[in-house]
């Protein structure tokens, strides 16, 4: 596992991902015309963001890499069906999210949400306790997000982990932006309750 990069990746990744609309069209046209270099350029621009999204969903670096690779395999097959009504990364994120859901629904490779995978710390300096604490907190949050109802889960992960704008998510879900914001609000309420319960349990365990 390489070192942990701070999120959001927008500064580093989204600049590449959110290419100007005209540029994105040019890239797509070149790919459809059989330009392999354009396809590689698309990979270079987007794979980090896709990987980051999947990592936040599954919490496992290796699994995220595999799912990223699988996402692109599906994307090449589905590219002729891409109608260009949404941004390319939005479309890619949707594929990645579906790939992740398919993965956790596979019986033999079911990812346990109750027992989170341990993150391998890339930094083993003395501040490891703090890092571990942050990681545990992040993991609890991830588990809580994944326990959300499907519509809320997708909205939260797409917005915060996929970096999609509310407007983009609304377009994907074919609902209004107000409805998306309501979803986010409901999700926060559930997450707050879930995390609060966990923290209460931890505190009670410490006291005992």
């Amino acid at each position: 596992m390489s070192r942990v990069a701070p999120f959001p990746a927008r500064a580093a990744e989204q600049d590449d991902v959110a290419a100007p609309f005209g540029e994105e069209r040019r890239l797509l046209a070149a790919i459809r015309a059989g330009d392999r270099m354009a396809a590689e350029e698309l990979v270079e621009r987007t794979y980090s963001a896709v990987y980051a999204s999947l990592y936040r969903l599954c919490g496992d670096g290796d699994l995220a890499a595999d799912l990223t690779q699988e996402t692109y395999q599906k994307a090449w097959a589905a590219l002729p069906n891409f109608d260009g009504r949404s941004q390319l990364f939005t479309w890619l994120y949707r594929i990645a999210y579906t790939t992740f859901l398919n993965h956790i629904r596979r019986p033999r490779r079911m990812t346990s949400l109750d027992e989170p995978n341990t993150l391998e710390p890339c930094d083993t300096r003395p501040s490891a306790d703090q890092v571990l604490s942050d990681q545990q907190e992040a993991e609890r949050l991830r588990a809580a997000v994944l326990q959300l109802p499907e519509d809320l889960r997708f909205t939260v992960t797409a917005h915060f982990w996929g970096g999609l704008a509310v407007k983009e998510i609304a377009a994907i879900e074919e609902i209004t932006t107000v409805a998306i914001r309501k979803r986010l609000h409901r999700a926060f309420t559930i997450l707050e309750a879930a995390i609060g319960d966990v923290e209460d349990d931890d505190e009670s365990e410490d006291e005992s």
Partner: protein, 463 residues
């Protein structure tokens, strides 16, 4: 939820740390880029779309065409039915009352098809003496000599009235007047002569004086000597007497036997235009029954091939305006033959007049032969249906058997005094030239030429 908590949650969600992707991930993904898939799929998709649009256009066109054809046929069918309903027989035709022996089933006006079902066979030999002795029939023959005129419309149709023509308003001749077996005044139950059809040929007085038939099957004369007698007379320069000409036998003589081997019993039906007819509505319909052949020792009797044979002839009223059995008096004399022997071939030739318009698949005639096979005892039904399209065939396109039979019939009628001998001779000559090996065609051409010359000399001497 207070704003602080919300902001904290957002921060935690947003600032979650993510490791950098593996160094080789980009290469792994790039390796998966299909070399030609993107372009191929795109072009395939475009081609598929074009194909779908093309197929849809073709399907729409076919659907439109079929629908149009269907509605057009529906429309014309309605027009035809209306015309049939209003159809009036030609001036030369006359509707004949339903025969007394109609069954309730066949007499039903709602039935589109009516069956010419006859009484058990009454042979000519048995009929003839009593007919001759029937004074009423004699009187009728004298009173209405025009009924002697035979069937068949020639080019000079004006000078020779069609057989079915009878403009006289008198009531139709009942069959019983002809076939009464005894001189008793009370007529016997009548064998139906023309089936149950509304318009049909009348019995002719000429039939009364027809010669005795040595052989008949289903009441149809198959006398093989009939032709020889006429031929002999012509060769001696004599005009055969009209009454002695057995046209049905001539039809059977020229129709001959089946060229190919018949397993048991075969029923054949064919239709065409008439050989020398000028009336577009006239058609010749031939029905032939052939039985299996057998090698017979001298003096041996012919073995049977079927028993309890019955024949039904149906003409569809909506398609046929009039019909007449050539050489007969309307229809078959008998529809039952107790035993069908081997080496038998019998042909019935009908002259029919179609209604002015009709659909091509409209049923015109149905021939149904039922018999019990001697071989295995099974009850077998053979059926042949002729539709209007089957009758659109020209005489030239018909089978040789059909052409010979119909031309022989026309020749026989010519001998009876009708015009058209030259036309018959010309046609017969053509037929003979087409197949020089066909002895019967040559014979027909010779006798037709002789008849033509005889008639020419007769008309010359008359002048």
């Amino acid at each position: 939820m207070n704003p602080k908590t919300k902001a904290d949650l957002q921060r935690k969600l947003t600032l979650a740390q993510v490791p950098k992707p593996p160094a080789d991930l980009a290469d792994r993904i790039k390796r998966d880029i299909p070399p030609h898939l993107v372009m191929g799929v795109s072009s395939d998709r475009a081609r598929f779309n074009r194909s779908i649009f093309f197929d849809m256009r073709v399907a729409a066109s076919v659907l439109l065409l079929v629908t149009s054809a269907f509605f057009a046929l529906q429309f014309f069918s309605r027009v035809d039915h209306a015309k049939i309903a209003n159809f009036e027989p030609r001036p030369g035709m006359r509707a004949i009352a339903q025969p007394a022996t109609l069954t309730a089933e066949t007499a039903s006006a709602s039935e589109p098809l009516q069956v010419a079902r006859l009484e058990p066979p009454v042979t000519r030999q048995a009929e003839m003496p009593s007919i001759v002795n029937t004074g009423r029939a004699k009187d009728r023959r004298e009173a209405a000599p025009t009924r002697n005129e035979p069937l068949l419309a020639y080019d000079a149709v004006q000078e020779a009235r069609p057989l079915v023509a009878d403009a006289t308003p008198e009531p139709p001749i009942a069959r019983e007047e002809i076939s009464v077996p005894a001189p008793a005044a009370a007529p016997a139950p009548a064998p139906v002569l023309g089936g149950t059809f509304g318009y049909m040929a009348e019995a002719k007085a000429s039939d009364i004086a027809m010669p005795q038939r040595a052989e008949s099957v289903f009441g149809i004369s198959v006398d093989q000597r009939a032709f020889e007698r006429i031929k002999s007379a012509i060769e001696h320069g004599a005009q055969p007497e009209s009454a002695s000409i057995d046209v049905a036998a001539l039809v059977n003589y020229f129709a001959g036997s089946a060229k190919r081997e018949t397993h048991d019993v075969r029923l054949d039906a064919e239709g065409s235009t008439a050989p020398v007819v000028s009336d577009a509505a006239r058609r010749m319909v031939r029905m032939t029954i052939d039985t299996a052949t057998a090698e017979l020792a001298p003096g041996a009797s012919t073995p049977p091939v079927a028993t309890e044979a019955s024949l039904e002839v149906e003409f569809d009223k909506s398609a046929v305006a009039a019909f007449h059995l050539v050489g007969g008096d309307g229809s078959l004399h008998s529809t039952i033959e107790p035993t069908l022997l081997k080496n038998t071939s019998v042909t019935a030739l009908y002259d029919i007049e179609l209604v002015p318009r009709g659909t091509s698949w409209q049923r015109v005639a149905t021939f149904r032969l039922k018999y019990k096979s001697v071989t295995d005892g099974r009850q077998i039904t053979l059926e042949k249906t002729l539709r209007r399209r089957d009758l659109e065939k020209t005489w030239i396109a018909a089978s040789r058997r059909h052409r010979l039979a119909s031309l022989g019939a026309v020749w026989g009628e010519t001998l009876k005094g009708m015009a058209g001998a030259n036309d018959v001779a010309r046609r017969a000559e053509e037929l003979a030239l087409q197949a020089p090996e066909d002895a019967k065609a040559r014979e027909l051409a010779d006798v037709a030429n002789a008849t033509s010359q005889l008639r020419g000399s007769a008309s010359g001497s008359a002048r």
